[in-house]
Symmetry: C2
Subunit: 227 residues, 2 copies
């Protein structure tokens, strides 16, 4: 469902050139549960932004579900992104003026879901992540971990084909982490492809495959969680 | 150096009242290295904001280095905060339009340090956190972990009496985490009081004392890291 060939992302030029990604070849099958790991600054978030069609590569080709997304722009790209991808960012990116419920509803507005149905589905997703009593709170009325849980509810509410999560449990205590990982596991069992950036071995153990990045390059493409 | 008595922080009222902190009594001696732990939503960041004079309690008294800060306002409070406290937030809070260097220099401008000296000290702090080659980068040109390291450099550059850190290693891989914890340890050995929110047992093991929060209350005030 993800096929990247010779992907590069370059910032700056000449002396100040930074190859955030370099010669990246990555293929992910439908239904895989894949962790992306690597040191701070190794390119994990950059890779996630390109997979999620939020950023375009400087070089290389990217086929998402057999569609060449490097040839798409704006509306068409946004449409594919909204339908196929659910995104949990490293810094949440919730709308600060909107409640947890309205933030979770947002992807369904783009997708044309009816007002009654989207309210129900948003509430259901927020209950699943443990925020039943925080539906009306705005982000600055929520703890760090609660904001991340709203982001997760928002990411799953359109039932995307791929769930991309950048450190989804980074700000969560062990109990909430276990609940969230159980949720990701259920979604994966139900057929969703999950790609998750993490630096925690506990989280990586829950996946089937680890991709290891270092200095913008893929060091290992198919590690198993055991080692 | 920190003496809190019967501190409460209340949001909303009547049916929607949330006691983010309730009947909190906390005393921290100069030079302690103390972890604050507890489930997501238990009040850790709220407590940190009050300790750091960024928020005032709804009830109770708070003596910071024997000064009753609940009776101070604006300039006087900002002055105490700038001189005594270094803050690492859960969401970095760097100035988005300023480079790593300028973000790190900021506390020294308030403190009246000369331009030449503050440039040197900022550079030195950034080198210590491993960002020697990122001095001119703005936050959106830095990875999540790199932004957190700028925040740490900024927090220590005025040599504060208390270092408050909310999940400082949350976004960092294990190697950078070890480097940052070694840095906090050195600072504590040199006399700095360190209060750190963490949900990672690896990090808590490095401290001398654990305070455990649950539903806005202090459940345990003096746990040792061994259990
Ligand atoms: N402005 C506000 N209005 C209403 N409720 C608030 C507000 N700010 C915080 N809260 C509530 O106070 C409680 C404690 O929040 P706090 O951010 O201190 O938790 P935390 O322990 O830091 O959690 P985490 O580990 O998820 O970061 C939460 O239940 C939150 O919803
Ligand atoms: N806009 C930009 N301009 C210049 N350099 C950039 C820009 N964005 C990212 N970088 C650099 O690209 C590299 C990779 O960044 P990225 O955010 O992908 O790392 P990461 O693996 O997610 O790290 P972390 O674990 O700390 O979040 C970093 O060295 C960063 O400084
Ligand atoms: Mg990142
Ligand atoms: Mg918090």
């Amino acid at each position: 469902i993800i096929l990247m060939e010779n992907i590069a992302k370059i910032y700056g030029s000449g002396n100040t050139e930074v190859r955030a990604l370099d010669q990246v070849n990555l293929s992910v099958e439908t239904g895989e549960y894949c962790a992306i790991m690597g040191p701070s600054g190794s390119g994990k978030s950059t890779l996630m932004n390109i997979i999620g069609c939020l950023d375009s590569p400087s070089q290389g080709s990217y086929l998402l579900d057999r569609v060449d997304v490097s040839s798409l722009h704006d509306d068409r790209l946004a449409d594919i992104r909204n339908k196929k991808i659910g995104f949990v960012f490293q810094q949440f990116h919730l709308l600060p003026q909107s409640s947890a419920l309205d933030n979770t509803i947002l992807p369904m507005i783009y997708a044309g879901v009816s007002p009654a149905e989207r309210r129900d589905r948003a509430e259901e997703a927020l209950v699943r992540v443990g925020l039943a009593d925080r539906l009306q709170n705005k982000p600055n009325q929520l703890s760090g971990g609660q904001q991340q849980r709203v982001a997760i509810a928002r990411a799953i509410v359109n039932k995307p084909a791929i769930l991309l999560a950048d450190e989804p449990t980074g700000a969560l205590d062990s109990r909430t982490t276990a609940e969230i990982l159980a949720l990701f596991d259920e979604l994966n069992q139900a057929g969703m492809t999950v790609v998750m950036v993490t630096h925690e071995t506990e989280v990586a153990k829950q996946t089937q495959r680890i991709v290891w990045l270092k200095d913008g390059k893929i060091l290992h493409s198919h590690l198993t969680p055991e080692e």
